[in-house]
């Protein structure tokens, strides 16, 4: 069962702010500005569009000496886990029975780029702490130092499926008895201009078409889309084994989940892989497609990705479920996306309301149960969320409202 959630995005930090932004369909898309990420202002390349966190509010309880060398990904992890931790009430749990899975690999590229640039002329002065911070596992070290987590902690990489794979791994960890509680984190993927240049060059990242209109640029499933837009994000999901302790109000039960590798090193989606994970998650849940009331898709705004996902959903009989696209509001959190979208799914489930899909003016396929410009009240208990990643990764999870 899922008993705690934390979320940090460019449209809101914390569940309350995030939920409000989702239902209002607010966005924060603009030219990316962070140092080491924005393009040099020499006109050599056009700006990248995306959504950045304006100001991360960090609780005073975290010591300044630790924060000094904590990357943006690490600081965001701390505040996001703190929210989920307190909601789940984990202070009462034996620390040796709590685990942490940090979803994502190579999540601190921008800070590495800055560190290299800072000492390019004098590498002999590279900071000793760089020997710790360049590794993604620094997030595990920091989070277990500041929270009493003593069961286990490690990272788990799965490209843009990392966040959902982390949730799945957390479920496995409590199912197997390794721990009673496991926190899954979709880490903020803090990329530099190098990765964005490559994403643009490979044709994955928008937006050429809406370069002068950032608010219109991120448009999953719309015919005018031209690629994903990045969005800084981080999500934390607390998974607990049932029957270990009482919890006043869990969000949901994980009914089924599945992953697939398609034997494909490329960014291409796989129809067969996506169908297999949807069917796998439904089979484990013991449900048929008609039982699924809401789908939270991967839906990045990729040309071929969105098409393929809709074909997979249609072939699996999920055309009648309601569907929206969280990334139309948050942007693509990459390693964070799968966890953030589990959070978005469960917040909508609790509120019994679905958020709009920004910029969905002319859907690729009109026959789905789209939520378009406005949020809608919707009574539902059962949902499926999908996450896909470069390198042939597909994953799905089936959730049912706690009752």
């Amino acid at each position: 069962m899922i008993t705690g959630l934390g979320v940090t995005t460019a449209v809101g930090q914390g569940k309350d702010a995030f939920t409000a932004a989702l239902f209002e369909g607010r966005h924060a898309f603009a030219p990316l500005r962070r140092p080491g990420r924005s393009m040099p202002a020499d006109g050599s390349a056009t700006a990248f569009l995306g959504a950045e966190i304006a100001e991360l509010a960090v609780p005073e309880a975290f010591p300044a000496r630790v924060l000094r060398t904590a990357s943006l990904s690490a600081r965001t992890a701390l505040v996001t886990i703190a929210e989920a931790w307190h909601e789940a009430g984990l202070d009462d749990v034996d620390p040796t029975r709590i685990g942490l899975v940090v979803g994502g690999s190579n999540v601190q590229q921008r800070e590495l780029t800055q560190a290299h640039a800072r000492h390019a002329d004098h590498p002999e002065f590279v900071r000793p702490t760089y020997g710790l911070t360049f590794m993604d596992t620094d997030l595990c070290g920091l989070c277990t130092e500041l929270f009493p987590i003593r069961g286990f902690a490690h990272t788990l990489g799965g490209a843009s499926a990392s966040g959902l794979l982390a949730v799945q791994q957390a479920v496995w960890a409590v199912r197997s008895g390794q721990v009673d509680v496991c926190i899954a984190l979709g880490a903020l993927m803090d990329l530099s201009y190098w990765e964005f240049l490559a994403f643009r060059a490979m044709g994955a990242m928008g937006s050429h078409r809406f370069a002068d209109d950032p608010g219109s640029a991120c448009r999953p499933f719309d015919r005018q889309r031209d690629g994903f837009l990045f969005g800084e994000a981080c999500g934390a999901v607390v998974v607990e084994r049932e029957g270990v302790r009482r919890h006043p109000e869990p969000y949901a039960r994980v009914l089924g989940m599945a992953t697939a590798v398609d034997g494909n090193r490329n960014p291409d989606p796989s129809l067969a892989g996506e169908i297999s994970v949807i069917e796998g998650a439904l089979a484990e849940a013991g449900l048929s497609a008609s039982d699924i009331e809401y789908v939270n898709p991967h839906g990045t705004g990729s040309l071929i990705g969105d098409d393929t996902e809709l074909r997979a959903l249609a072939e699996c009989g999920l055309r009648d479920a309601r569907i929206n696209a969280t990334k139309s509001i948050t942007g693509h959190g990459l390693s964070a996306a799968g966890a953030v979208e589990v959070v978005a799914t469960l917040l909508q489930m609790r509120e019994q309301r679905l958020h709009p899909t920004r910029n969905l003016v002319d859907p690729v396929d009109d026959s789905f149960g789209w939520v378009r410009q406005e949020s809608v009240p919707f009574a539902f208990d059962t949902a499926v969320s999908l996450s896909m990643g470069f390198g042939g990764l597909s994953s799905a999870i089936c959730l049912r409202k706690w009752q």
Partner: protein, 81 residues
């Protein structure tokens, strides 16, 4: 460069690495370890000081310092020798 300037740089970077020492009155006999600096903190403080002075000294040659005063003197002597 006078030793006092090296000492002041060590103090400055110590406060950067351990902001909780802001307001502490540093004396030459203060030991970084006793002030709460772990081995990573100490390496960080020394490297920041060396960078501020633009001098390259292998960290291992500074390991013998027992307190901030000795550290400042070691850095001073090795950077001017």
């Amino acid at each position: 460069m006078p030793i006092q300037e090296v000492f002041d740089l060590v103090v400055k970077h110590t406060c950067e690495v351990m902001p909780e020492l802001d307001g502490h009155t540093f004396v030459a006999t203060d030991s970084l370890r006793d002030l709460g600096a772990n081995s990573m903190d100490r390496a960080e403080i020394i490297m920041m000081t060396l960078e501020s002075l633009s001098v390259t000294i292998p960290l291992v040659e500074l390991a013998g310092a027992n307190n901030i005063g000795e550290l400042a003197k070691l850095i001073h002597d090795k950077s001017t020798s």
